[in-house]
Amino acid sequence: MVATAAPRVTSPYAGIATRGIALCIDAAIANGLYIVGAALLGLIGSLVGDLHPQWLVALIAAIGWSIVVGGYFVLFWTTTGQTPGMRMMRLRVVTYRGERVHFARALIRLGGLLLAIIPLFAGFLPVLVDERRRALQDFLARTVVVHFSEPAP
């Protein structure tokens, strides 16, 4: 019902290159944060000895990475509607009604983003043919990515 409703968004929708650049910037920032945080924790952990077994270290690292990177996207989508990379490219993610994305919808969008990336970013190809330039995560979370000319308040 909501998916078929006419969008209230008046801004033009963001295309694949703009969104790709924003995603690259966000990936760099999120992974940079994770690397710095993990390095600091590792440094502190080295004071009390090495962690064993190795699979446990890998598991903790994977969980930490998921929390940091996932939290980064969910936090920015739900609070300002734009990650730092999207802000740099003057983009914003909103619902079909032009409203802010809530937490549950942001989680769905994050899952959709992972699904879109796994098959060699094939989940982004619909942007090239969809009228509202939606990717897989946008279809799943019922969101659109739009340009904005004014900085977000």
Binding site: G15, I16, A17, T18, I21, M88, M89, V127, V129, E131
Partner: protein
């Protein structure tokens, strides 16, 4: 021509007569110098001369002050401006002196180099540089320039990306024969 050269110069002759008269006049003066009481009389004359000089200086000062207080300096300045005196002097100087050569010579001289080095190494200059470098105005200008440069770069990336968005979409839609609805 030779006749002209042999004629006596009456001016030189008059000068010789004046010299003789001057030397003759000095004879009674030298005689008077030896009279008793002449030293004291000369001292009194020196005092009178000093008083007269002081009086004349005071009168001259008053006269200069009176002139400067009036409209004469304004009129002189106005006239100098109207008649472009400064420009004429500058033009005359430029014609008379090869400024380029003079300035080059001054700059090439060791004295100039030594003076510049001394000024640059002076504590006052170091303090000035530190003050200017740490002033909020300079820092604000540098920050504004840096941020405007970064903003300009990001804006260029954004514009190119949006252009590529349209090109990519048109190309793919062209392959699929699905033109973008108007």
């Amino acid at each position: 021509m030779r006749r002209v050269e042999n004629r006596p110069n009456m001016g030189d002759a008059a000068l010789a007569l004046a010299s003789v008269a001057y030397n003759l006049a000095k004879i009674p003066v030298h005689a008077a110098e030896r009279l008793p009481g002449m030293t004291r009389l000369a001292a009194d004359g020196a005092v009178v001369r000093a008083r007269a000089r002081s009086y004349l200086e005071a009168r001259a000062e008053e006269a200069v002050d009176w002139v400067l207080a009036g409209r004469l300096p304004d009129a002189v300045a106005r006239s100098a401006i109207e008649h472009q005196v400064a420009e004429r002097i500058a033009a005359e100087l430029a014609e008379q002196v090869d400024l380029e050569v003079a300035i080059s010579a001054a700059l090439d001289s060791e004295t100039t180099e030594r003076l510049v080095h001394a000024v640059l190494m002076s504590p006052a200059m170091q303090r000035t540089i530190e003050y200017v470098a740490s002033s909020p105005e300079v820092r604000a200008a540098l920050t504004a320039q840096s941020s405007s440069l970064a903003e300009e770069m990001v804006s260029g990336v954004r514009t190119r990306a949006e252009t590529f968005d349209d090109v990519a979409e048109r190309t793919v839609r062209g392959w699929l024969r699905r033109p973008r609805p108007a």
